[in-house]
């Protein structure tokens, strides 16, 4: 049995929770002390409209400007450089948490930015995979799945809202829906789960229900013990394990707002409620709208506004639940967008991108990496992390190498999915 299968077998029998993966601090118990959120701007965001701004100077090659706002509109917020709004686009209200200045003024001290990351691809699927797994090719789990893997026996260890959620069988991703759906699942024996006054009216008496549940588990064990086909035996073992898990959805519901938001904010609310109730260890949030091949300035600005509002809301929810010192948040996208406009005023795919990190363990108000005026990645000295012509180009593989070190991913998992690349202190 190879190592990966061995780990999967451990996971299938609920033992993976004892593997020595930590998230910043050593954790051997069943409950994770450190939690992890990824936020995916799906479609390929434009860092030059966010935290790697260029301005509207004409490119020397005649392809026009990178952005359609003047360099004077670029704001320095702490050590961060924040983009201006395109001339033709009405900015969101300053009071909006998604307004660039408002957002960065509020959060810059906890934000770390890595610019000039080369994703080496212009394909969505490949870019998403590389950015969230550290490997361009298929086969590596999402970093959020790695974070949850030691707690695979928790029924909601890894919450996924789409994007890249491949787990390679280390942990079962849990997908989400509306709050009402959760309510119906919190009380599966209730005829009127969504009506607190009638919730006690059940399909089965508690006694009958317990009898049925016990009979099911015994039946499953009998089936498993007599099964000779390995695949089915493994499926039965997995089903038995998951059924043994204790999902406390009513506990999760207690942490949800009375009215759950839609979109990214709603995803954030559910993730934080799952964290607060001890159900989840990691979550990936996902927001679309960034693939702006046409009318880039309008659409990208709108998408970025929603993104920043969602991140701000996530942070507020974490603070509300007192989790801000336990949760690390990583924000990224498939790749970047071209440093010039196409004939439809859109921007196509570009392999250079950025990431942002905030939360537990992250020292903010720092920018690592850089791009030139044409949004090409500058090489970095791997020691100083300063631009250097004989340095290296940072790729998502470097980011994940650093991220794994930062998160304390166990050597077992690290060897299963090796990232043989220079170690850069991107998050230290």
């Amino acid at each position: 049995m190879d190592r990966r299968k061995f780990l999967k077998a451990l996971s299938a029998f609920g033992l993976a929770g004892t593997l020595p993966m930590t998230l910043g601090t050593t954790v051997w118990g069943a409950t994770a002390q450190r939690l992890f959120v990824t936020v995916n701007a799906s479609g390929g965001w434009d860092p030059t409209a966010l935290i790697d701004p260029k301005g509207n100077s004409q490119r020397a090659d005649g392809l026009g400007p990178v952005n359609k706002y003047p360099a004077s509109a670029i704001k320095s917020v702490g050590r961060l450089q924040v983009a201006g709004y395109p001339d033709s686009k009405e900015p969101p209200a300053k009071s909006s948490a998604g307004h660039l200045e408002t957002f960065f003024n509020k959060h810059y001290q906890r934000l770390r930015v890595v610019n000039g990351i080369d994703t080496q691809t212009n394909g969505h699927e490949t870019g998403t995979r590389f950015v969230w797994s550290g490997r361009l090719e298929e086969g590596y789990p999402s970093v959020a799945a790695l974070a949850a893997a030691p707690y695979a026996s928790q029924p909601m260890a890894f919450i996924s809202n789409g994007g890249y959620d491949f787990t390679d069988g280390l942990v079962a991703p849990v997908r989400t829906a509306s709050a009402a759906t959760f309510t119906s699942l919190a009380y599966p024996n209730s005829q009127y789960a969504d009506n607190a006054a009638l919730r006690a009216q059940t399909y089965f008496s508690n006694k009958a229900y317990s009898t049925v549940e016990a009979a099911r588990q015994l039946r499953l064990a009998r089936l498993g013990s007599g099964e000779t086909l390995p695949q089915r035996a493994a499926q039965m073992a997995q089903l038995e394990k998951v059924r043994r898990g204790d999902v406390q959805l009513d506990g999760l519901l207690a942490y949800l707002p009375a009215q759950v938001s839609t979109g990214l904010k709603g995803q954030a609310e559910l993730a934080v409620a799952a964290f607060a109730s001890g159900q989840a260890v990691s979550a990936n949030l996902n927001l679309g709208g960034f693939d702006t091949h046409g009318t880039h300035d309008d659409d990208q600005t709108d998408a970025l506004t929603l993104l920043l509002e969602g991140i701000d809301h996530l942070w507020e929810q974490l603070v509300l639940r007192g989790l801000q010192d336990r949760v690390t948040v990583l924000i990224g996208s498939d790749f970047g967008r071209t440093p010039f406009y196409n004939t439809g005023n859109g921007k196509d795919h570009w392999n250079i991108t950025s990431i942002m990190a905030m939360g537990a363990g992250i020292t903010g108000n720092r920018v690592i990496g850089a791009t030139d005026a044409n949004f090409e990645a500058l090489k970095l000295n791997p020691g100083t992390l300063e631009p250097h012509s004989s340095g290296i180009v940072v790729t998502p593989k470097h980011v994940h190498r650093a991220l794994r070190d930062f998160l304390g991913v166990s050597s077992e998992l690290d060897k299963l999915y090796p990232l043989n690349v220079e170690r850069l202190a991107l998050f230290a």
Binding site: Q120, E137, D165, A172, L185, P188, L229, R232, R243, V247
Partner: protein, 829 residues
């Protein structure tokens, strides 16, 4: 034959009594069953050394098997000797004087040696010398082929195995293939003798030794009964239980009858629903259905002025506006899947899904495209799709579909490479990104030249494959519109395929040319087999193992790939009719696997079988097939609550469980969940509770002969009499068969376990009546209204309602049904 051999043996023994080796050979030859196989090359696979044919003058040809007894002394024991199969050539000689066995070419893995063994006792030989042998074509193979196919031919980085490969049927077939197309991107590098020698090497080195092992591995699979296979196939393909006529066919004609029954199913409309799901899981073009946005498909039809024909303007919209809008959108969105359906339904070769010089429209989408040349029987029938042609557009099947091209868009920087990657993945079963293992890091690659993808060897490896296909899409722009560019990039490989350049462009038909090349490539057949196999079993065929993989993985791959190659050959031989392919997979041991009869093969069959967690769509339809209604709320409101999209618990993602239960929207969620998680098991629990609540009282409303669930009992049947006990057991037996497909004897322990559950719940309930329990059914389980009309069941002085459960029998049966509905054998299939 055996007597003849014995007579000759006796004569020979008179002459060679002291030659213990041959004595042993001939004694062991007595069973006289001729070995099978077509490979003449002696082979050593630890610990067995097999010589398919060794000739002894005057005594015919023998198949000799030796077993390595001592690695220290390299001593072999003779394990068996049987008459050699016909058609083999001698692979070894035995010198009677020197008592030496000489093997000129002995295969050991992917290496070859000449070997000499010496007779040392009655049934033992010792290896005395070996010398490495380089076969003709071996060196050229290592230089030109191994980087992609692996030194062992099992697939290497690109995972295209040469073991049992579709062109490996004959030397001339393979030689021609190599001569014309290999190495990809540079076929002129190996032609003539080079090609034929490499072909010979491939056949000798990689395609001769797996037959017996594969056969043994397949024999270890215990298949489902034909009856059970029929049931599983019916539920999977057409979402119903088998008809009595189909059951009779199987009973009377065995596998022939099963195939006939499958033939019938593959003509049913329900099958095409499943077919669409199978292909959408790969293509994901359902991303444009209205469930992902009202006009996600029609919104892409920028160049068609009547795209929104259904909208006369806000103030003039009629009551049918919403219906026309969503139906038109979905009609446009479904076009590529409808093309596949059309090809399959009409028994056309699957190659047509790429080469079709037409696309599909119904009455709704035809208006959006402005097509008036197609006549419909009923233009308001959204299911009536017909072929159509857009004037001036060189259709190329799915490849030129507006949905496909938008689902995999391009850009000035991407240059159709994403489209090319998908074409390789889905239609050629090649993962471009797996080429040569790992894409070089940016810092390690010199991209300083003007066209690194054409000049830097690190880049050329992939781009020589990727870019010719990408360039073949050049006439179709980002939005999927046919718009030939005035010029195309010169810093990338030009349109072509398999090392052959596309002819000079005329009328922008390079995509049509590409489609013809793809379907002529044997990997296209592999790609289709993969799609169907994955759809039917829930997982891909096994990939060729890596060089250092355990032996079991290699054996598993060889066994499965050998069988899939046979299936592929039948499918190709049937003019690439997909129905043939589906049938062959369904009757194969891999789909029918029900257990192993030899535990020694457990590692080999680690992934064998078609049991999979049912997708939400499959579970939704299984429920409907077995109960006659869908899971979408209490039956009293069923008639008035028919909006499938928003009320079907397993299909709706917003309020209910489609997404939670692992479904995809083909947009942000594109991978199905194949393993249950904590929420999914609660969905199963709620489904079991609700369906038991709805179905049990409902079934008792019907006459006994019309019941699905309770043909042997009434609500008055209790356990106080032997007759009642027997009836309950009989009904439990029926429920196990009907809901789970289990054929159990009345004395089976599982019947007793279920009986105990019924009895316990009944007793508990009865004893609590009047205290914690009432005689009323749970409110949502009551049956007051007709399910199909909504009319009251209490009309005309006849009260057919079922509201009470005076002796708790209904609720005890509800417990039994809920128990069975969350069972592994219900939720997996």
């Amino acid at each position: 034959m055996s007597q003849h051999l014995r007579r000759r043996q006796t004569g020979w023994l008179d002459k060679c009594l002291l030659l213990g080796l041959l004595l042993s050979m001939l004694i062991l030859a007595l069973p006289a069953n001729a070995a099978t196989g077509t490979d003449s090359t002696p082979n050593f696979a630890h610990p067995a050394l097999t010589i398919p044919r060794i000739d002894v003058q005057g005594y015919g040809s023998l198949n000799l098997s030796l077993v390595l007894e001592s690695e220290a002394s390299m001593t072999f024991r003779i394990a068996s000797a049987t008459p050699a199969a016909a058609g083999l050539t001698p692979g070894a000689t035995y010198n009677l004087k020197t008592q030496e066995l000489t093997i000129p070419t002995l295969r050991v893995g992917s290496q070859f040696y000449s070997a000499q063994l010496r007779f040392i006792s009655a049934d033992r030989l010792q290896l005395v010398s070996t010398t490495a042998v380089v076969l003709p074509g071996q060196t050229a193979y290592q230089q030109l082929c191994a980087s992609c196919h692996g030194a062992d031919g099992l697939g290497g980085s690109v995972r295209v195995s040469l073991k049992n490969c579709s062109n490996c049927s004959a030397l001339d077939v393979l030689g021609t293939r190599i001569n014309n197309t290999m190495p990809l991107g540079n076929p002129s590098a190996c032609v003539g003798t080079c090609a034929s020698e490499i072909a010979s090497y491939i056949l000798t080195a990689f395609n001769g030794s797996s037959g017996p092992q594969a056969a043994q591995a397949l024999a270890a699979i215990e298949p489902l009964s034909l009856d059970a296979t029929l049931r599983n196939a019916a539920l999977h393909l057409v979402s119903r239980v088998p008809s009595s006529a189909e059951i009779a066919l199987v009973t009377q004609k065995g596998e022939v009858g099963l195939r006939q029954a499958l033939d019938g199913m593959l003509e049913e409309d329900a099958f095409y629903t499943r077919l669409g799901e199978i292909f959408n899981d790969m293509l994901l073009t359902n991303r444009y259905l209205a469930s992902n946005g009202a006009e996600t498909a029609t919104g892409l039809m920028l160049r068609f002025p009547t795209a929104r024909w259904y909208d006369p303007g806000v103030s003039l919209r009629g009551s049918d506006y919403a219906f026309n809008r969503s139906t038109t959108n979905d009609s446009v969105a479904l076009e590529p899947l409808e093309l596949i359906e059309y090809v399959v339904r009409n028994n056309r070769p699957m190659s047509e899904i790429l080469t079709a010089n037409y696309f599909m429209v119904n009455g709704f989408s035809a208006k959006s495209y402005g097509i008036t040349s197609v006549t419909f029987n009923n233009e308001r029938d959204p299911n009536e799709f017909r072929p159509a042609v857009l004037p001036g557009i060189p259709h190329a099947g799915v490849l030129s579909s507006l949905m496909f091209l938008n689902r995999y868009p391009t850009s000035a920087t991407n240059r159709n490479r994403a489209r090319s990657r998908l074409v390789y993945d889905v239609f050629l079963d090649v993962d471009i990104l797996a080429l040569d293992g790992v894409r070089p890091d940016g810092s390690a690659v010199d991209i300083s030249s003007k066209a690194p993808t054409m000049e830097n060897p690190d880049c050329v490896k992939c781009h020589s494959l990727l870019d010719p296909v990408a360039s073949s899409f050049q006439d179709w722009n980002l939005r999927g519109t046919f718009a030939p560019p005035r010029t195309w990039y010169t810093d990338m490989f030009q349109a072509g395929f398999g090392g052959v350049a596309a002819p000079a462009r005329s009328k922008g038909d390079s995509l049509q040319w590409l489609a013809k090349q793809i379907v002529a490539d044997p990997r296209f057949d592999d790609g289709i087999v993969r799609v169907v196999y994955r759809g039917l079993t829930g997982h891909d065929p096994l990939r060729a193992p890596a060089a250092n993989s355990p032996q079991a993985e290699t054996e598993a791959y060889l066994a499965e790939s050998a069988l899939l190659d046979q299936i592929t050959a039948k499918y190709v031989g049937a003019n690439r009719n997909l129905k043939t392919l589906i049938k062959e997979i369904l009757v194969s041991p891999y789909w029918r696997a029900d257990g192993l009869n030899n535990a020694a093969f457990a590692a080999v069959h680690e992934q064998t079988g078609a049991a999979r967690l049912l997708t939400p769509e499959l579970l939704h339809r299984k429920i409907e097939a077995l109960f006659g209604f869908q899971w979408r709320g209490p039956l009293d409101q069923y008639f008035s609550n028919r909006n499938l999209a928003s009320s079907a618990r397993l299909l709706d993602a917003r309020q209910y469980y489609h997404q939670i239960y692992g479904g995809i929207d083909s947009f942000t969620i594109t991978e199905r969940l194949s393993d249950p998680n904590g929420l999914m098991v609660i969905v199963q629990e709620r489904m079991a509770n609700e369906m038991a609540c709805y179905a049990v009282p409902n079934d008792f409303l019907s006459a006994r002969t019309a019941r699905r669930l309770f043909p042997h009992v009434e609500t008055s049947t209790v356990l106080t009499s032997a007759q009642g006990q027997a009836a309950v057991r009989q009904n439990i037996q029926h429920l196990h068969r009907y809901l789970l497909g289990e054929e159990l004897a009345l004395t089976d322990a599982e019947i007793e376990h279920t009986y105990a559950l019924f009895s316990t719940v009944l007793q508990q309930g009865q004893s609590a009546l009047g205290t914690s329990e009432t005689t009323s059914l749970p409110t949502r389980c009551m049956r007051n209204n007709d399910i199909s009309t909504g009319a009251s069941l209490n009309t005309g002085g006849v009260d057919r309602r079922l509201r009470n459960d005076n002796n708790y029998v209904v609720r005890a049966w509800m417990a039994v049904v809920a128990y069975l509905l969350a069972d592994y054998r219900f939720i997996y299939g």
